[in-house]
């Protein structure tokens, strides 16, 4: 259902969202930016370019209609639309990112990139005021409607004008102008010796937090690429609610909430149909017409039907909708349950996230916050009935409280709100007939524990890239840029077999000795195995199998009796005169253990 909702909101986003999102990277190109870090750490400039590249890439993949620009300031050379600003270099005008632009960025990376930057732009005087003014022009030159405007300044200089108060004032004024036109200015300040002091100058340039409650400026400058990437990404992705609903606690007690999809299965985008001659996209038109008369059919001339038991049942189109309607969209609180009642395997859809919408119903945030706090404190979840949109049948969902977490740098790791876990209906369970086997002994379990601890790692949800999607975009990239072959991708979900083998060493064989009999090959197909047994001829009696008392005792000690087959166990019972409760394997084993175990 959620994928449906997502598809839907994407499909219709052009109606709802009245413009495009835009993002300008304003990057300091002064000499300081090019200083390499210790131990061959990349320079601030290099780091910035990597981040810009990853934003370009993610825009290409997820929101290609957003506009992005890259502007350098503090350059020697100047390049801007009317060339009215000195020391401002517009590298990329505000436009949709494409393959060429990614290539451009690539050429600015690393040692060679620094060289290229020095050749084309150089480092010179700084006037942030001019740079901001130039950016303002970029925005105003755009004929498209912009819905969200953001500007990110990347710099490692907290006093860009070296204390020149006139230039400082000019920059502040320009920043003020920009902010007035709805541009949000962020500072991505980078590491510099002696620390970056935001209060010297930049605190007056950047936009104040969106509302009082929003996290303010990150005080600590970014030192690592990861941090910078995270920080940029958090700002760069504009969150949009999939739906705004009421959470009804009881009659007349409605809290306005927004539903957000925080994890949506990314798929390879669908193909676009092109006209062979010109490679221009074609549009499709679908018509419904009468087979006999050939005339177009109006909706009133069409009905819907299903066939059951040889009978065709016909309904009007609006009846088909009416059947699906149970109630108006919204969340209805049914009650609360302790967290342990939320079963791990009750999973049918990815979860969504719930956050109050104060601007719809005033007071929502306070009630929501109180509910969140109490649910979390008492370790309960709220069970709700959820109708996500009009004419959607209801689903039940658990609202699981999640409180806010921030990292050392005060960046939010998890936002405060409820995770909505959709719950299955009776129809969603399948009846299985599980096989029954004897449980492993503690010796066997302990050996496996050793294996597990050798292969321990820290799971992070963003650690694995989707190789299918990555390959697809590499292919497109190669075609778009006329590359000989696509760049290789690293398949991160491929087990590193050699590494695993060497880490485990002899443990594997030790474990196998404990659980598998000799000559057992798990790779062999069971059918083939049976065949060989059959071909041996049913008539031919199997050789009598016997085990010595010592062997048995070892098995008993290691808890590995189950490795022996039933005939062998039976024989052993006979041998030692052990009486058994039955002939089932576990009964035989139990009996033998009781006899020999002491």
């Amino acid at each position: 259902m959620i994928t449906l909702i997502m598809d839907f909101s994407i499909k219709h986003s052009s109606y709802r969202i009245t413009g495009r999102d835009s993002l300008v990277f304003l990057v300091d190109a002064s000499k300081e930016m090019f200083i390499k870090g210790e131990d061959g750490q990349p320079s601030n400039f290099d780091m910035t370019m990597q981040v810009v590249r990853s934003v370009y890439m993610s825009k290409i993949i997820s929101s290609h209609r957003d506009l992005v620009a890259l502007v350098f300031y503090g350059t020697e050379q100047s390049k801007n639309p009317r060339n009215s600003f000195k020391h401002v270099y517009v590298y990329h005008d505000l436009d949709e990112p494409g393959a060429k632009r990614v290539q451009d960025i690539d050429s600015l990376r690393g040692e060679k990139g620094a060289q290229l930057a020095a050749e084309t732009m150089g480092s010179g005087e700084t006037s942030l005021g001019d740079a901001l003014w130039c950016c303002a022009n970029l925005y105003s030159d755009i004929k498209l409607r912009l819905s969200h405007k953001r500007l990110m300044i990347f710099t490692c200089r907290d006093e860009p004008h070296g204390g020149d108060s006139v230039k400082d004032r000019q920059a502040r004024t320009k920043a003020g102008d920009l902010k007035e036109t709805g541009v949000v200015i962020d500072l991505m300040h980078l590491m510099k010796p002696g620390g970056f002091n935001v209060s010297l100058f930049f605190c007056d340039v950047i936009s104040p937090p969106e509302d009082e409650s929003e996290l303010g400026l990150q005080e600590e400058p970014c030192e690592k690429l990861d941090d910078l990437q995270k920080r940029v990404r958090a700002k760069e992705q504009k969150k949009r609610a999939m739906a705004r609903l009421n959470l009804c606690l009881g009659e007349g007690l409605n809290v306005a909430v927004g539903i957000y999809a925080t994890a949506v299965t990314a798929r390879k985008p669908s193909a676009i149909k092109l006209y062979r001659e010109t490679n221009e996209p074609v549009r499709s038109k679908t018509r419904t017409f009468h087979t006999q008369t050939g005339s177009l059919l109006l909706p009133s001339e069409i009905k819907k039907a299903q066939v059951y038991g040889k009978k065709q049942i016909v309904m009007e189109r609006d009846e088909v909708d009416a059947i699906k309607k149970f109630d108006d969209p919204g969340l209805l609180l049914i009650g609360f349950k302790p967290m342990e009642k939320l079963k791990l395997h009750h999973h049918i859809q990815p979860a969504v996230f719930l956050y109050p919408e104060e601007d719809q119903v005033k007071g929502s945030a306070c009630l929501f916050s109180a509910l969140l706090k109490k649910c979390s404190e008492r370790n309960v979840f709220a069970l709700c009935r959820c109708i996500a949109r009009r004419n959607y049948p209801p689903r039940f969902a658990a609202l699981v409280p999640q409180h806010e977490e921030v990292d050392e740098g005060n960046a939010q790791i998890t936002p405060p709100g409820f995770n909505v876990i959709y719950l299955p209906y009776a129809d969603d369970f399948r009846t299985l007939d599980p096989p029954h086997y004897p449980a492993a002994s503690q010796v066997q379990v302990d050996k496996m524990k050793e294996i597990i601890s050798k292969l321990r790692f820290k799971y992070r949800s963003d650690a694995f890239e989707n190789p299918v999607i990555q390959q697809h975009y590499r292919n497109l990239e190669a075609l778009a840029l006329d590359m000989m072959a696509p760049e290789d991708i690293e398949d991160l979900i491929m087990p590193k077999v050699e590494q695993i083998d060497s880490r485990l060493g002899p443990l594997v064989d030790e474990f196998k000795d404990l659980v598998y009999p000799e000559n057992y090959n798990p790779e062999s197909k069971p059918a083939a195995k049976r065949k060989t047994a059959d071909s041996g001829g049913g008539a031919e009696k199997k050789p009598k199998v016997e085990v010595t008392e010592d062997e048995l005792k070892v098995h008993v000690q290691n808890g590995t009796l189950a490795k022996l087959t039933v005939p062998v166990l039976k024989e052993a019972c006979k041998q030692f005169g052990v009486r058994t409760a039955g002939t089932k394997k576990q009964e035989l084993i139990d009996a033998l253990v009781a006899r020999l175990g002491s």
């Binding site: 290609h64 060429k100 009082e212 409650s213 969150k239 007690l253 957000y260 994890a263 990314a266 985008p269 149909k273 221009e280 018509r287 087979t291 109006l298 001339e301 059951y308 038991g309 009978k311 065709q312 016909v314 189109r317 088909v320 909708d321 059947i323 149970f326 395997h345 979860a351 119903v361 009630l367 706090k373 109490k374 049948p393 699981v400 936002p415 209906y425 129809d427 969603d428 399948r430 299985l432 599980p434 096989p435 086997y437 004897p438 449980a439 379990v445 496996m448 294996i451 597990i452 292969l455 321990r456 790692f457 292919n475 979900i493 087990p495 594997v508 659980v515 598998y516 798990p522 069971p526």
Partner: protein
């Protein structure tokens, strides 16, 4: 449950008493006949929609007429085989609905039983039926001769027929043996008290049969219990045979365990889709859908299918990429796999990051105890360490590989790994939300304690007197209401065509709401919450446009407002008109139209025709955007023609509205009928308004 879902076929005879005593009931109570009919209806309904191959027959007794193979010399009278053994269909449902009425005779229920047995035995010959059942619905209110009871029992035994009684009253506690704890209200109608002599002796016989082992006590369901109906109301749960997925769990290259996977939980969908039929003939073949492709130019030049290639968007670029190339270059892998990448703490894998829509249970391979032990060692080790295996999972060579977690699961009678898909980096969206730890938002202690008592009053899991946990609301026991409602409506339409769809069944409605106990309990705490948390709806700034706004209210009203707009428009026009406009194009037809009229380079009529043509074209797209575009066209048309002629040319004007009307219908009941177009300026109700206002405009223009 007698009719459990088995892959093997079963044959069942529904044997219903329609004799006169069945219509007797205390005032205000439903007669046993009606209840029995409901049970039968629901049961047949279930069978029909489940599309099972199980066969079913219907025998009535107490009928005025007699029609059965055993009818001979006063024997087996007033018993009618209404339907022979066959797969139930809608016809049977219609018959039950319309042809089964209470009748005036009484018949021996043992005789009826014999007729049923005979029917089962003769009609299942040569068929592979492995389960034979008879369901008897009667109030036992007839004299039955017990003489042959033992013979009958012997016959049942030999034929392997099981028997189930539906009685309109409950057996008394002590007699029933396994009385349900919550059925103790003795004042309840239909209890064993006040039974007639016949009923009492009948019961004796039923017990006798029971003792012979044909009837387990648990199959006793009294139709006077509303939950009996409810049980039957739930259309057969959608059952699918689990498909085995044999594979090997691998840890590195040297360690593998033979496993088999089964989907355990997955979102079940209805199997059947709606098909489109012609309204008049209701034939599917009379309707054809056709998709054509055209260039995005003014003429909408059609392009043949063969001239179409595929491409993909790469940011601002569109890259042509043929299917062949794509197949060659796409990511390929070795197919089926369940390979461990490593092990991680369970707490690192968060519940809300589960992806996909299923949970797969992995067991050790069938008939391989060694695999069983090896897997058990892994499961137990993971469980003891509170860890999971992070695995690469690929269903087969054609499907995309996933990353997921295998959780240990140890149940009383089995052990398995539970596999759930986890997100890829590309799936995640890192949204930041304002902190709720904010002075303005921080709830007061009084507010918090109000929430506390609300939670207290609404706890669904409570301990009862005996200290046992009781869960009042289990969604996983509720049948998917969408399916239930779907089948209810289909059934209704099939049986009573031409009548409006029925209301939702009360029991279904009730399962989707708060339990009554909770509703009562939370009343006061909710009131307290209302007092403690003032909530005020913020008035929406952007109201949806009304049809009046869309169409521009006829003449005067909005003229004053429009004047300013028009002035601006003119200014823009002057700007734009610099370029030469020679015909009404598709990009901005309204603008072109205005310009052309202004230029006076073409005759007014011709320009109008061009516009009409354009509108027609626009509307063929069936898209809100184009729809809106055509509205602006018509607005332009009206405004310009009033300027020029003071009166629009009637024919064209009518034509346009007619197009619009037709397409308004298409648009809002057509492609977008499934859901509201959120954020679109037009909702369905508005569409109705549009429809109406178009209609009114038509009438008005006719008058003028």
């Amino acid at each position: 449950y007698l009719w459990s879902d088995q892959s093997l076929l079963s044959a069942l005879v529904l044997c219903m008493d329609v004799g006169f005593s069945m219509s007797n009931s205390a005032p205000g109570e439903e007669p046993p006949f009606e209840l029995a009919k409901k049970v039968i209806q629901k049961f047949v309904q279930r069978q029909v929609f489940a599309e099972t191959k199980d066969e079913l027959a219907l025998v009535l007794f107490g009928t005025d007429a007699t029609n059965n193979p055993l009818d001979q010399d006063d024997q087996y009278q007033n018993i009618t085989v209404h339907r022979h053994l066959m797969i139930p269909d809608f016809e049977l449902l219609v018959e039950i609905e319309n042809q089964i009425h209470p009748e005036n005779q009484q018949a021996d229920w043992l005789d009826a039983l014999v007729v049923c047995m005979d029917l089962l035995q003769t009609e299942t010959q040569g068929k592979k039926c492995n389960r034979l059942n008879i369901v008897l619905l009667t109030d036992l209110n007839t004299q039955a001769s017990p003489d042959n009871l033992d013979v009958i029992i012997e016959n049942l035994k030999q034929a392997g027929i099981t028997l189930q009684f539906f009685l309109p009253f409950r057996l008394e506690e002590d007699e029933e043996g396994e009385g349900d704890a919550d059925r103790r209200d003795s004042g309840h109608p239909g209890t064993g008290k006040g039974l007639s002599r016949e009923q009492k002796s009948g019961l004796e016989m039923v017990r006798h049969v029971m003792l012979e082992g044909f009837l387990s006590l648990s199959t006793y369901v009294s139709v006077s219990e509303s939950d009996a109906i409810e049980q039957l109301c739930m259309f057969k749960r959608i059952e699918r045979r689990p498909m085995a997925w044999p594979c090997q769990l691998t840890i590195g290259s040297a360690l593998s365990i033979r496993i088999v996977g089964y989907k355990a939980v997955t979102e079940e969908k209805l199997k059947k889709m709606w098909i489109t039929v012609d309204a008049q003939t209701t034939k599917r073949d009379d309707v054809k859908r056709e998709t054509v492709y055209c260039l995005d130019d003014d003429n909408e030049t059609e392009v043949q299918k063969d001239d179409i290639i595929q491409g993909f968007r790469y940011g601002s670029d569109i890259v042509p990429f043929s299917k062949v190339d794509q197949d060659q270059m796409k990511y390929k892998h070795d197919g089926k796999c369940f390979a461990v990448l490593g092990f991680a703490k369970q707490s690192m894998v968060q519940r809300h990051q589960f992806m996909g829509n299923q949970v797969v249970k992995m067991f050790a391979a069938k008939d391989d105890e060694h695999a069983g032990v090896a897997l058990s060692a892994l499961i137990r080790a993971l469980d003891e360490l509170q860890m999971v295996a992070i695995v690469r999972y690929a269903y087969d060579r054609r499907s995309n590989p996933q990353v997921g977690a295998a959780f240990p699961c140890i149940k009383q009678d089995y052990e398995c790994l539970m596999y759930v898909q986890l997100p890829f980096m590309e799936d995640l969206r890192h949204f930041t939300f304002p902190s709720l730890e904010n002075k303005k938002l921080t709830p007061s202690d009084a507010q918090l304690s109000a929430v506390d008592s609300l939670i207290d009053s609404m706890m669904l899991v409570n301990k009862d007197e005996n200290g046992e946990q009781k869960d009042l609301f289990k969604p996983h026991n509720i049948p998917n209401p969408a399916f239930q409602r779907h089948f209810q409506c289909l059934h209704h339409r099939a049986v009573s065509p031409g009548t409006p769809l029925p209301a939702m069944e009360p029991w279904l409605q009730a399962t989707l709401d708060r339990p009554e106990v909770i509703r009562e309990r939370c009343r006061a705490p909710l009131e307290e919450m209302k007092r403690k948390f003032p909530l005020t709806e913020v008035e929406k700034k952007k109201k949806l446009k009304t049809s009046a706004q869309i169409f521009g209210k006829d003449a005067e009203e909005s003229d004053a407002k429009n004047e300013k707009d028009e002035a601006e428009e003119d200014y823009n026009l002057a700007d734009i008109a610099e370029g030469s406009v020679t015909s009404v194009g598709s990009v901005d037809p309204a603008r072109d139209f205005r310009t052309l009229i202004k230029q006076k380079s073409l005759p007014f009529r011709e320009v109008c025709q061009q516009l009409t043509h354009r509108i027609e074209q626009l509307l063929s797209n069936k898209d809100t955007l184009y729809y809106m575009k055509s509205i602006t066209c018509i607005q332009a048309f009206r405004e310009q023609s009033v300027k020029v002629n003071k009166h629009p040319p009637f024919g064209e004007y009518m034509m346009m509205w007619w197009f619009l009307l037709r397409h308004a219908v298409w648009l809002f009941y057509g492609d977008y009928d499934k859901d509201e177009v959120e954020g679109s300026t037009i909702s369905k109700t508005e569409a109705n308004q549009v429809y109406r206002s178009v209609y009114v405009s038509l009438i008005n223009s006719k008058r003028s």
